[in-house]
């Protein structure tokens, strides 16, 4: 009986040890912070892969959207507040595509540093509200901003 108990104890210790190892490895992995999602800053710094598809994410810069009236070609700039990259795309854009909208593009990096996108996806944010509320918020914000600038 005693050996059986001891065996159980050994088994429990072994299991706990392995689970601990597992957790430690998982934490190391999490610290590595792998992402397949590149911000414009990372792309500008040359951290994005050269001849491979990757995803880039950011906000569409204000006034940067240029549409070719004849074809579906469109070009716009993505920013993350610090840096910008130009994206070229040919195809139908999602309804949510607009300035200052969070966008994810999938594409390759051209030699001149622009992204040739094969897919453009709009990421809607977590905020839901009626249009009037949004307008009110916007005007409030604008007044706050101009107020701040005056000071």
């Amino acid at each position: 009986m005693r050996t059986k108990q001891r065996n159980r104890l050994i088994l429990a210790i072994v299991i706990v040890a392995f689970v601990a190892v597992s957790a430690a490895l998982a934490l190391t992995a999490l610290n590595k912070n792998i992402n397949l999602f590149y911000s414009p800053t990372m792309i500008v710094n040359g951290e994005a892969p050269k001849d491979r598809m990757f995803r880039a994410g950011g906000m569409v810069s204000v006034g940067s959207v240029q549409r070719d009236p004849e074809t579906l070609a469109v070009s716009f700039r993505l920013n993350d507040g610090a840096n910008e990259v130009t994206v070229k795309y040919k195809g139908i854009l999602p309804d949510l595509f607009r300035e200052e909208q969070g966008i994810v593009v999938q594409g390759k990096l051209a030699p001149d540093g622009t992204i040739i996108a094969s897919e453009v996806l709009a990421k809607h944010d977590e905020n839901y509200m009626p249009p009037e509320v949004q307008e009110a918020l916007d005007t409030a914000k604008k007044m706050g901003v101009t107020g701040a600038e005056k000071e």
Partner: protein, 227 residues
């Protein structure tokens, strides 16, 4: 009963399974053959353009490895179940998870390890670059034992059932998805020159967790299936 005896039981079972595998070596070769054929189907079905093959190589090799593992897993407890030695195993005084671990280890030595040896060859067939070869071997080394470990749970749950093979894939393949994702991503990233220690650490973490927990779950499942 001392640890020495436990060790003896473990190694006896391991040796027995390896001997059996050796005796039925033609049968044991089949999943490997399947692995090679599946991988070589892709260049035939797709455009055999080196660039394309190069991109899909990690994913294809890993998917084929999963499918081959499914095939070989099916036989893990089958013959033992049919000749009644599985029931004998449950009746021994030794802790069942340990015995199960011996069987899992035998299964990996017979089915997982050969995949590792074949992988460089297939990598070349699929035009996988030399930067990707070592990561491919590393992920296979870490990943295939996870397949044997997690797979054993599914096999134990379906061992007495008719048509267990298809059911087994339905139960097990969703659980294999994390392995597939990390392994294929690691190989792909290595080719692109990106650091892959994160993925390898995660695979190692999965392996450690599966090593600790899967034998317990398999033992419990065997008890249920055979009562």
């Amino acid at each position: 009963m001392s640890e020495a005896k436990l060790g003896v039981a473990f190694f006896t079972l391991l040796r027995r399974d390896l001997m059996l595998a050796y005796r039925h070596r033609a049968q044991m070769m089949n999943p490997l053959l399947f692995f090679v054929i599946v991988v070589s189907l892709f260049p035939l079905g797709l455009d055999p353009e080196p660039e394309l093959l190069h991109t899909i190589a990690p994913g294809v090799i890993w998917v084929a490895a999963l499918l081959a593992a499914m095939l070989s897993l099916d036989t893990m407890f089958r013959s033992d179940f049919e000749d009644g030695s599985l029931e004998q195993l449950l009746l021994t005084p030794h802790p069942l998870p340990l015995l199960v671990l011996a069987k899992i280890l035998a299964h990996w030595l017979v089915s997982g390890l050969p995949l590792l040896l074949l992988a460089p060859l297939l990598g070349m067939l699929l035009n996988l670059g030399s930067e990707g070869l070592f990561p491919l071997l590393a992920t296979l080394l870490l990943g295939t034992p996870i397949l044997s470990l997690i797979g054993s749970i599914g096999v134990a749950l379906t061992v007495g059932l008719r048509g267990g093979g298809v059911l087994l894939s339905l139960l097990i393949l969703p659980l294999f998805i994390p392995v597939l994702i990390f392994a294929a991503a690691a190989v792909g990233n290595a080719e692109a020159g990106i650091d892959i220690t994160g993925q390898l650490a995660f695979l190692g973490s999965l392996l450690a967790a599966a090593f600790a927990l899967a034998p317990l779950a398999t033992a419990a499942a065997l008890r249920i299936s055979l009562n």
